[in-house]
Subunit: 425 residues, 2 copies
Amino acid sequence: MSLDPAAPDQSAPEPPDLDQLRSAYEELRAADLRLDLTRGKPSASQLDLSDGLLSLPTSTTDAAGVDTRNYGGLEGIAELRAMFAELLWVEPEQVVAGGSSSLMMMRDVLSFLWLRGAVDGERPWGAEEKVTFICPVPGYDRHFTLLQWFGIDMVTVPMNDDGPDVEAVAALAASDPSVKGMWLVPTYANPTGSVCTQEVAERLASMPTAAPDFKLFWDNAYAFHHLTPQETKSADITSLATAAGHPHRPLVFASTSKITYAGAGVAFLAGSVDNIGWYVGNLSQGSIGPDKLNQLRHAQFFGSPQGVRDHMVKHREIIAPKFDEVDRVLTERLGGTGVASWTKPAGGYFVSLDVVDGTASRVIELAKQAGVALTPAGSAFPYNDDPRDRNIRLAPTFPPLADVTAAMEAVTTCVLLAAAEKRAE
Amino acid sequence: MSLDPAAPDQSAPEPPDLDQLRSAYEELRAADLRLDLTRGKPSASQLDLSDGLLSLPTSTTDAAGVDTRNYGGLEGIAELRAMFAELLWVEPEQVVAGGSSSLMMMRDVLSFLWLRGAVDGERPWGAEEKVTFICPVPGYDRHFTLLQWFGIDMVTVPMNDDGPDVEAVAALAASDPSVKGMWLVPTYANPTGSVCTQEVAERLASMPTAAPDFKLFWDNAYAFHHLTPQETKSADITSLATAAGHPHRPLVFASTSKITYAGAGVAFLAGSVDNIGWYVGNLSQGSIGPDKLNQLRHAQFFGSPQGVRDHMVKHREIIAPKFDEVDRVLTERLGGTGVASWTKPAGGYFVSLDVVDGTASRVIELAKQAGVALTPAGSAFPYNDDPRDRNIRLAPTFPPLADVTAAMEAVTTCVLLAAAEKRAE
């Protein structure tokens, strides 16, 4: 799946020299591009797939007879909880349907842990001398930002093809009681596309932890976001953790942000019945209920759990060609040059590109000067610190296919130029 | 506006004796009522007024050309910010349009103050030895609940007809640096219906405070919720505070929960440009944006600030008769008896009923046994502690008019019975 830039293919053609690359780059700048590969946003045509929502709901009363226009129902409407319980392999009472953002739900969970403590904790996390999270890298920038906002220390472990380096995770969790948790995108991880295997998930569920209230933030943002007809199943972390005697360890997050509308979807939390009670109990101190009308709109739109899966096939048809194009340009331009390796994800929203050590920030700067916006250097690492300055996250879903091609051709020129500059140092 | 139960009208008829009242109460119980005056919820016919929302928006692009279906736009869409800026007498850049709940916005503001500190503060409130809030009573139970959840101490001051007892507020704020803030429903307060006058607002805006980062949580939930054709204007607290040299003191909250849908409206925060920047900056650490599509839906539905005002007239036509009925039954049954006083609000959602000292919880229990649910005793006080056990909050908007009549007749029987029991002690 990935090439090792440390071991260039000896049979590869000699890369263009520095002068040729500088000249190619000047041509690029003259083309006056305005392209953007920064964020994992659905494109307009993906959003169009859900425009049926605009004429829903056809009635405002949910299956339980509740008027969704009014206050109440902190845990969300029953039919949508049941639908996503099936998709997430839990019981309906183990799911809360919330507002439009799973990120805000994660922030709320952290706030509750910080101010009031976990269901299995001895004190609020804010009362601890230090709180540390394990962060698989490269990972999701917004997870790290949120941890930093809370003043939570971050220690990194490598993200491998089968999930986080579980030996490293287990060692940290076992030895340090300040290690209170870990964030993980288990399926089609941001940005590597890695899928956490059953074996790794079992280990995460069962490993001994020095902190009795260790929490696994299982951010399953891309659970149904397949790029191939093979629909990889996420590990069933709640069952695994329950079987291992740690039922309150996982907190599962999901949302329809990249299923229906990125700005107007529904977010979900799943976990043990105690965790759900803990969450709703804390939520009730400052909320009267979520937007149930939007939940009903979604329940009517999908119709069934299968309706969600079917809908995702339409997304795949739109975005898979963009990922194919990223891989095609990277392979044609950089394959065998030894200056880059990249992932070829089977799902999710990103391609993770590793360039020659010490050149990622230069590539991003060159691309910016040529009118191609890339995610800032180091974004996939805590404190924006990519120790090898080599990782670049590519997000090809939002631009039209032709723009993806143009942007990737530009990026590869920048990668080659930065590598040649480095060699010439 | 209110009667003083301590000074019964000497010309009033003798109230019925204990045996007569017990007999009346038994009849009531036999009637097997199922009535509810607990919460300030709009009725179905009020919610119907906004069903135009169900076929909106007609387009998904806002005035700035932004696709509201996608991520982004933390501060909300421009046209809705501008609309509510005019209604709240501030500039558009002084308003954030958020999610569906102003209560959650208040919780977020408290979280930000707790974890990161105020724009004009020296340290996070959570790092203080003690944080105290001034609470006018009777007040809104959810404000008190939220403060208690944060572990914030509460000291009470009386709520008068012209707003909080401002002498008491000023004395507390000036003398104690742990007094970091105060919550106030300035217009048609919950539950008394009091309106904070210009004079009281000026004093709150200008009073010296021992804490440099004192915050006035100005929860203007009922700013446009008039029960009479005279549309009382709220004091312009942001201008007053700016003029007094304390621009960052007020944080103004509003929402459409009782304008459109209680569960699917839009909430607003207004304040100084610095406060708005502070809020959005903290929000950005754990949010990618609000439900802009619902904001566009609301902007299209109202059309203009005047559209909001016009819409509120339709609410008044539905609910004013219910408030009239509450007053009619109270006056006919309890007027002149000396056992109760009550408010006759010109707006908002509540009537505050004071009964004989030491009998409020008994009245509520009697009503419950007779099938009439009232807000639990003490709800309008911090820690649910009504020191005189005399206050009952009545919420007549949700039930149909006939139910309001039946419920109020039952309540008055319970008030009279509890008073007679007390006399007989």
